[in-house]
């Protein structure tokens, strides 16, 4: 298979697309697993896009695109900003905190909990998407 593209696309529920570096996006365990061509599990992203594949892994891995039906555009934008902020300051000390607008922080908290969740079990994901 060809080498992995350097950039991936994250699409929000209201159809905003964000093209980010793969290395930054893979900060999130969920995204990393979605984009990993070696993973072979029933895709969870949404029922419209779900394809049970036995060979190539997720649809997301082939198209290098992840759809998030439960994350809005504004929140996803902040998430992408955080990914770059994290990458930039990976080894730094006394890093200044990223600015988080209070209006957004609750949704951002839920999104970050979703994206960092370590266990991509089907039930877990289904519950989250249903939430």
């Amino acid at each position: 298979m060809a080498t992995l593209s350097q950039f991936v696309t994250l699409v929000s529920s209201d159809d905003f697309s964000f093209i980010v570096l793969r290395s930054a996006a893979c900060l999130s365990g969920v995204i990393r697993r979605m984009l990993d061509p070696a993973c072979i599990i029933f895709s969870h992203a949404s029922l419209l896009y779900s394809v049970l594949t036995l060979t190539d892994g997720f649809v997301e891995a082939r198209t290098n695109t992840c759809h998030f039906e439960n994350i809005s555009g504004m929140v996803l934008e902040k998430v992408c900003e955080y990914m770059y902020y994290n990458e930039k300051h990976r080894d730094g000390k006394d890093v200044p905190d990223m600015d988080i607008p209070p209006e957004l922080c609750l949704e951002l908290l839920m999104a970050s909990d979703y994206l960092d969740s370590a266990c991509p079990s089907l039930l877990h994901m289904a519950l989250l998407t249903a939430a």
């Binding site: 893979c26 955080y82 990976r90 949704e107």
Partner: protein, 662 residues
């Protein structure tokens, strides 16, 4: 006369009024000069200075209120637009007019001044005006012509000077009319503001100053250490969750509801709110949702009796209830809870001192077989031994039991607890004396099934207890025997030698030592407390499965045992995550380095009072707390590990050791 004076000035057109004045021997120019001189003086004396110099504002041309305002504004505009001389002339004209009026009315000087202070009519914001109609002064002021300063005049023209106390002025912010006092402050554009707006401004300024104020020295270092104690590593950027939680905590006043947040996040938020002491009746509803199964509030100190009822009303299906600092919980709240919450299984109440003993007994009776775990701390006057006996009789399904700092419990409680058939986790810290026999009988009866046994501060428990544990406990995972000054090292050794119990996961033997001021090193031949032999036996028995190890204040563990345990080349403890070696004076740098090498999963190493620990390389994943000689903080070097890919990178040997020697 006028010709001389007007020699070096811009000559503007003479108005009819000026002519008229001249005809009455009043010089418009001279009036102008007086005015300018006084303005300059006023500026030099600063704002709001006393106006005893007798300045006064011209009562306006007989208008009031809005008209004056309009006139004022018009005049300002006109001032800006017009040529200097014209403006001066205008001022002069008005002054002259007023002078005429006064002259006509035949008022004396004194009355004029009084009139100024009463502030009749709108103050014309021209600053101090000269006393009119004083011939002596006129002559004196004539000399001031030579002090003519074009810059001053320019400034005067465009700057609106401060009205005197007693006059009316419009507030810059809210445009309300108010009486000027010496205490009114200036608004952002230079004009005066009324008192309420002034208070607001002052508050803003104060808030700004507070936030910009220099932090006391050492605060940054303290914050660093505090974060480290909480486990927040200093390295790299904070996680997004962490930052969001901090933002929420900062703006806790504005949060209205938490929406659909998953339960673990709600719990984390409630922890942060409790830590910052903002869990109040106002913010309480955020954490109560009808669908929740557990309510966890670690600091319920601000909640009042009705709030407890609210909790039980909103969340009737609660199964797990954890409330800390429940100082205000009363009997009625507990009644209500017993009525409403029929699914309640796990109860943890700390410091609920207003609940009476009868209520506790009723609680046990009503809950009966429903109760599966109970944790009570800090009960001073309620909960007697009899209550525990009732509990043992009624609540036969109790699996988890924790009684700490319950002052009234003693031996009979222990005897009663021993009869609970399903007990798996037991944690006791009692103030009253409990005989060894009771403890032994407890261990004998419940030992085989016990998973957790924590006996703190049983000062007189001796080796018979440990041998009972050795003989009867077969499934222990967590063992804590702390703050004891009777058990000898030999007893510990025999506990861990040839013990059929599987390896412990949690071992805590802190403060097992004998404190005797006459013999400050403790008996050296037969050491009391966990010593070298005991420690070695412990590590031999449980080293492979141990996750949490606490040997603080075990002063008889010597360097040989520590080195053997941690520094020998094949020592590996794959599960150890937390080690506390505080106040073990023999721990030194080598031991610490050995610990880092031997424990790949280590997260936290607590080493208060270990004075021999010096410069040490700390791997990136470990938090090292409490080393007394760390000044700038011990530098952390080591592998950075990628979140999902390669797993933990090893410890880079060859990094620099940094330490600021004391």
């Amino acid at each position: 006369m006028s010709g001389r004076r007007n020699g070096n000035r811009i000559r503007g057109p003479q108005s009819a009024l000026t002519d008229f004045l001249a005809a009455n021997n009043i010089s418009a120019a001279q009036i102008r000069d007086d005015h300018e001189r006084r303005q300059r003086e006023a500026r030099n004396n600063g704002e709001g200075s006393s106006t005893a110099a007798g300045a006064e504002a011209t009562p306006a041309i007989g208008e009031d209120g809005a008209d004056e305002d309009v006139v004022e504004r018009d005049e300002e505009e006109e001032e800006r637009v017009r040529v200097e001389s014209k403006k001066r002339k205008r001022k002069g004209e008005v002054e002259a007019l007023e002078k005429i009026k006064k002259a006509k009315a035949g008022k004396g000087k004194g009355k004029e001044e009084k009139g100024k202070w009463k502030g009749k009519g709108k103050g014309k914001a021209q600053g101090k005006k000269g006393k009119k109609g004083d011939p002596d002064e006129d002559d004196d002021d004539g000399d001031s012509d030579d002090d003519f300063d074009p810059d001053d005049l320019g400034r005067d023209m465009y700057k609106k000077s401060r009205p005197l106390p007693g006059q009316f002025e419009h507030c810059e912010i809210c445009s309300k009319r108010f009486t000027v006092t010496p205490y009114n402050i200036e608004g952002p554009d230079g004009g005066l503001v009324c008192t309420p707006c002034g208070k607001e401004l002052k508050k803003d300024v104060k808030a700004e100053k507070k936030s910009a104020a220099k932090q006391p020295q050492g605060r940054k270092r303290r914050k660093l250490e505090s974060d480290r104690l909480d486990g927040l590593v200093n390295r790299g950027a904070k996680s997004l969750q962490q930052m969001c939680i901090e933002t929420v905590a900062k703006h806790h006043d504005d949060v209205e509801e938490l929406g659909d947040m998953p339960a673990p996040l709600v719990e984390r938020l409630s922890q942060i709110f409790s830590k910052q002491r903002v869990l109040k009746p106002k913010t309480l509803p955020l954490f109560l949702r009808p669908d929740l199964q557990s309510v966890v509030l670690h600091d319920a100190a601000y909640l009042e009796a009705d709030d407890y009822k609210q909790i039980f009303a909103v969340v009737p299906n609660v199964q797990k209830l954890v409330l800390g600092n429940t100082c205000q919980m009363k009997d009625e709240a507990m009644e209500y809870m017993l009525e409403r919450c029929l699914k309640l299984k796990h109860v943890q109440l700390y410091a609920s001192n207003l609940v009476s003993t009868e209520m506790w007994e009723k609680f046990f009776t009503v809950m009966g077989g429903r109760l599966e775990s109970l944790a009570l701390k800090w009960l001073d006057n309620a909960l007697e031994d009899e209550s525990v006996e009732i509990m043992a009789r009624e609540c036969r399904n109790v699996r988890r039991l924790k009684f700490k700092l319950c002052r009234r419990l003693g031996e009979r409680a222990v005897v009663a607890i021993a009869t609970l058939p399903k007990l798996q986790h037991l944690s006791l810290q009692l103030s009253r004396d409990v005989s060894n026999e009771a403890l032994i009988s407890l261990v004998e009866q419940r030992g085989p099934k016990l998973l957790t046994l924590s006996l703190e501060k049983f000062l007189d428990a001796d080796e018979t207890l440990l041998s009972a544990i050795h003989d009867h406990c077969r499934s222990l995972q967590k063992l804590r025997v702390s703050e004891n000054d009777t058990v000898t090292d030999a007893a510990f050794t025999s506990l861990f030698t040839a013990w059929p119990n599987p390896p412990l996961v949690f071992a805590d033997f802190n403060a097992t030592r004998d404190i005797d001021n006459n013999n400050s090193d403790g008996p050296l031949e037969d050491p009391i407390g966990l010593g070298s032999a005991g420690f070695t036996a412990l590590m031999a028995h449980s080293g492979q499965a141990l996750k949490h190890l606490d040997i603080s204040s075990c002063r008889h563990i010597d360097i040989v045992a520590l080195s053997e345990a941690f520094c020998s080349p094949d020592a590996v403890y794959p599960a150890l995550e937390y080690i506390n070696v505080s106040f073990c004076s023999r721990v030194d740098t080598e031991v610490v380095e050995g610990i880092f090498k031997a424990c790949p999963a280590l997260k936290k190493l607590v080493a208060f009072g270990c004075f021999d620990v010096g410069a040490v390389r700390v791997p990136g994943s470990v938090v090292l707390i409490g080393v007394p000689r760390a000044r700038e903080g011990i530098e952390q070097f080591g592998g950075y590990f990628d979140g999902g890919g390669e797993g933990m990178q090893g410890l880079e040997i060859g990094g620099m050791a940094v330490e600021v020697s004391a």
